[in-house]
Symmetry: C2
Subunit: 474 residues, 2 copies
């Protein structure tokens, strides 16, 4: 617990009169916070459902003379300046999450003074005039065109994040098929299973191949066990951990040959690759010309945006199922959230307009190229690594120590970690990471006592460089 | 449909090569957009589930020489400048929504360059380092203290909006009592009923008094009909339309005398007043010293924030019900969303730190004073109006014409409209509104043929100034 947090009186206090302005965090405590945070890296423990105050900037009551002395302003400015410095540092050393951190929205800073809110449906104007629907609809049109759904046949909105997209897609699926069963590969994003629990839906987990793709043989078996109920299927266009792309065509074929024609709803979770895939040659196309029903994608990932956001596109006729019965959602709209951030659509509009489809194509190519570079260098150095063909997510053995993982902000699962090569990840940054990793590994494993983990179960024997599998390969 | 939108080719196009850069919206089209938007005010039609493109800024593919000519940048700058102008205008004429538009976050504009994301649980650090949990936890502590819940006994997070708070509170309630019935007054926010449908919960609507408060006699009757199942109760701390505050003490008393002790969960939807009430003398206190389970409040309303956000506080032991079973949400956290906007907590932290509890107290007093002023002047002028004792929401007869409603961005329901007096609503602004309303009314109703609507059913005979009720009052 930080000094600042400890300063907070232990018991709950009644209202204003009894506040002690001395509780303000002093610059010294801040310094300590910084130190404590460093320490925390080493012995962090993840416990669900505990509100551990590892560090916090306590809010304290202003003193009566604060306006005159300017001390409060000075204190807040110092907190913010330190925070900004840490953001720069952390943004620099960041490889594990698929966020494009390379953006310049200087032209939009003038809009921060407005409370922009796209309440409810993007296509129904609310009386609240401070909105950005004209930008939002422009962005939606762009995505509908990308995924080949006619302007008069789509409905959609800009969400708060990929999770909201999945929550929405699966909810629409449930309304179209109220007794439908949700099928999702076990490597699907956790929000898919969260949705099933929230919505009280029956959910069947489908096995995956080593690549991370859905195993359609297992899918077929499970469909045949439940032929009496419609299928609501989550298809991953890029899984979270391995960047694996489910074979959409094979999923559809499997549904059709098991007799589910007309009795299925497909939601494509395209969190990251939904936007990259259309620009990758040979990739099975995500398009509404195929019998899919909704696609969601994150806006803060490949596009890059200061805050999380996403795009949700679905067939208008599905939304009509909801809205034919206005009572259904007891609201004038078919979104999950009510108030919606009106800044996000402007950020997206700005970037899409500047880069265009062609600009994105170039960036996708660069990412794939850099991802191959990283994977090749890892393999050369004897580090277990895998890169799916259509992906820019490089999976590698988990670095031995947590401080290394934290420094590079790698996302880990079991024995593997991954690096997501985004447009802001340059060859220079990768070289810096590689050099550090290779140097660290020789100190971790140089003595011969401790050895790198076996990751054959995660990424296949052919990609595993552990002692056993590298030997058998020779 | 605007010229800009019409420029979009009708059918869906394949990828980049075929894009026509001529599709860019020309300045002339923009001019037209402005005009068309004005017209739209008059003949707007609300149709659910239709994606009507009333107006949109089309995104077009950049030309090859855009970087050299600078034309694209110039075009985008012109769109943004016009948009900014319209935002200033709309922000000025805004009375109907409870958003405090009076804020200056200039000091925070430096942070817009960072992709700040508080993925998952505020109390569990994720490996993604570019977060603002230290600010978020500071804000949560402040609210937990306001509502008198000990630091070690609460759990919470900063949400995307009031709706997410309600979705969360009701979900936790359902997990605590899986077969519980949701009770909510019929004037509850629509997100409460949306939650019931999403979660497949049985939901009982309770009648309201004329003031808008829950009718506890009806509540009692309905509880007695369902004594075999636990009760999950939504209590409104300020209804959306009338600003009515449900009598929390009476709700608890009703639950206890009908034998529901230990068999109920109370969620307080404090969207707006959850933050104002603690500062109103004589108001029944919202406090966790009473047997309530969760409170949600919006951050963009009374506090003021450029984007929608909210605060959710619940008892830690309730969250343990979820998290004891980690599989439950299939995630490491108990939030609804996954990625979460990391800027919002900093905005809240900044304002709370500057104003303090005392600052809010002053603003609440000012709002209540100004609301009384508005209500008194309306009554003097013979306009039907009502103001609940603990509220700053003034309910009045709906203005006859939609263009007046839109100009002042009033929220309407049936024959009534309301003005929410927020800190940015000054006496000058109210005078301007009143003068315009009174002048307009004399032109609407001066000829004696058309008469103001009767709103006795909505706000009570004593507050209705229609011909019949004003006569009977004399």
């Amino acid at each position: 617990m930080s000094k600042g947090a400890m300063n907070l009186s232990k018991k709950v206090e009644p209202l204003p009169e009894e506040f002690d302005p001395k509780e303000i965090v002093s610059p010294v405590a801040l310094e300590l916070n910084g130190v404590l945070e460093e320490c925390a890296e080493k012995k962090r423990e993840i416990v669900l459902g505990r509100n551990v105050h590892t560090m916090c900037y306590t809010i304290s009551e202003p003193e009566a003379d604060d306006d005159d002395t300017g001390e409060r302003e000075a204190y807040m400015a110092s907190v913010l300046a330190r925070y900004r410095k840490s953001l720069i540092e952390r943004t620099k050393h960041h490889l594990g999450y698929p966020y494009n951190l390379d953006f310049d929205y200087g032209a939009l800073s003038q809009l921060q003074h407005f409370s922009i809110n796209n309440l409810g449906d993007p296509f129904i104007e609310s009386n609240y005039g401070v909105h950005s629907r004209q930008f939002e609809v422009g962005v939606l049109d762009w995505f509908a065109r990308l995924w080949e759904l006619d302007k008069n046949e789509y409905w959609g909105y800009i969400t708060n994040c990929g999770t909201e997209g999945n929550l929405h897609g699966i909810l629409v699926g449930r309304e179209v098929f109220p007794d439908g069963i949700l099928y999702a590969s076990r490597e699907s994003h956790y929000s898919v299973f969260k949705a099933a629990k929230m919505y009280r839906m029956e959910c069947v987990k489908v096995a995956t191949l080593v690549s991370g793709e859905i195993d359609c043989a297992d899918f077929e078996r499970k469909l045949l066990l439940n032929k009496d109920k419609p299928a609501i299927v989550n298809v991953n266009i890029g899984t979270t951990v391995k960047g694996a792309v489910d074979d959409l065509d094979l999923v559809i074929e499997t549904l059709e040959k098991t007799g589910f024609s007309g009795q299925f709803y497909i939601h494509c979770d395209g969190a990251l690759f939904g936007l990259m895939m259309p620009f990758v040659k040979r990739a099975p196309k995500v398009t509404f010309k195929k019998p899919i029903d909704s696609v969601s994608v994150s806006g803060h990932k490949f596009v890059g945006c200061p805050m999380p956001c996403g795009v949700q596109i679905t067939r208008l006729k599905n939304i009509n199922v909801l809205s034919n019965n206005v009572e259904y959602l007891a609201s004038r709209d078919a979104t999950i959230m009510g108030s919606r951030n009106g800044h996000a659509p402007i950020f997206l509009w700005y970037t899409l307009n500047r880069k265009g489809y062609k600009g994105f194509q170039k960036e996708v190519q660069k990412c794939l190229r850099n991802a191959h570079y990283l994977k090749d260098r890892l393999v050369e150095a004897g580090v277990s690594a895998m890169l799916n063909e259509l992906s820019s997510t490089v999976v590698l053995e988990r670095p031995k120590y947590e401080d290394f993982v934290r420094r590079w902000q790698l996302a880990c699962e079991g024995n593997i970690a991954h690096v997501v090569v985004m447009p802001n990840v340059t060859i220079e940054k990768l070289d810096c990471f590689l050099d550090e990793l290779i140097r660290s590994r020789s100190s971790w494993y140089g003595d011969g006592e401790s050895r790198p983990p076996c990751v054959a179960a995660d990424i296949g024997e052919e990609n595993c460089c552990c002692d056993e599998h590298s030997k058998s390969a020779n």
